[in-house]
């Protein structure tokens, strides 16, 4: 049952990811990306980390995707004004894709020692929201605060960058 679910989710993830970059219309891309993100959230939940699954949906599917869509709309992008890359480039990109995949796969295949197939659980709770919260706010409280600062900075930065230049206005 669970493994079937895993395969279905995986197919959705990969398929929607591929469609994201194959769609000609950026809006479609964004929407396929949302699908992909949702399926990933499904994986998270499957892995029993509900908290991350929720956060993922909120951050990615919610915040980031909204941002992207707004940007796309702001720029008024459509199919016609994107020039496709030449065929050779596409071919090389495909080759690169295969090469990369092969190499990483073979790296993983050779390095079996990073996981054991014999696997036992200790049964303790390690990923409930409660435990996660404790880890996050006890052990990682400083990085946590730093992330807050980072987000603030990113926000200020984004505002500053996208703000229209005053001199430009007058000019």
């Amino acid at each position: 049952m669970i493994d079937i679910l895993f395969y279905i989710l995986s197919t959705i993830t990969l398929g929607s990811a591929a469609l994201t970059l194959l769609s000609k219309n950026p809006i479609h891309s964004a929407l396929w990306l949302v699908v992909s993100f949702f399926s990933l959230a499904g994986h998270y939940i499957l892995l029993n980390s509900q908290f991350l699954g929720m956060v993922h949906i909120m951050v990615y599917s919610g915040a980031i995707m909204i941002l992207m869509l707004f940007t796309i709309m702001l720029m008024n992008l459509n199919i016609s004004n994107e020039v496709q890359k030449p065929f050779v480039t596409k071919l090389v990109a495909t080759v690169a894709f295969c090469l990369m995949g092969l190499i990483i796969l073979s790296v993983v295949m050779r390095g079996t020692e990073i996981y054991e197939l014999q696997y036992t659980t200790h049964g303790k709770d390690f990923q409930s929201v409660q435990v996660l919260g404790q880890v996050l706010l006890n052990d990682y409280v400083l990085p946590f605060e730093m992330v807050a600062v980072l987000l603030l900075l990113a926000m200020i930065g984004a505002v500053l960058i996208s703000k229209k230049d005053k001199t430009e206005k007058t000019a």
């Binding site: 970059l21 659980t121 987000l151």
Partner: protein, 106 residues
């Protein structure tokens, strides 16, 4: 609840993550639209995230998930700043086609 890894096996997550990552790489090489490339970066980030979560479960340790949390925060920040830059570029040049962005040329 039983551990999913026992049923599915960690290696499948690894393969999934690799393929997802490679799709992201492919997208970046394939497309010229900066926003699509951005999306591909997000896909790559997510493939890493997913692997972290999978191994977190595998090792039964919460730290992996904490890192995913941080990654998300960083990704959010990145997207915010990155899109802001894109908007500015678009405003100045009228395009976000990366092949037209050659100001780096010395």
């Amino acid at each position: 609840m039983e551990n999913v890894i026992e049923i599915i096996g960690i290696e499948k997550y690894i393969y999934l993550s690799i393929i997802l990552f490679c799709i992201g790489v492919f997208g970046i090489l394939f497309r010229r639209n900066a926003i699509i490339m951005f999306m591909c970066i997000e896909i790559m980030l997510n493939s890493a995230n997913m692997l972290l979560v999978a191994f977190s479960t595998y090792h039964q340790d919460a730290q992996g998930q904490v890192f995913v949390f941080f990654t998300m925060a960083v990704a959010a920040a990145e997207v915010a700043v990155g899109l802001a830059i894109l908007v500015t570029i678009y405003r100045n040049i009228g395009s976000i086609d990366i092949d037209k962005l050659k100001n780096l040329k010395g």
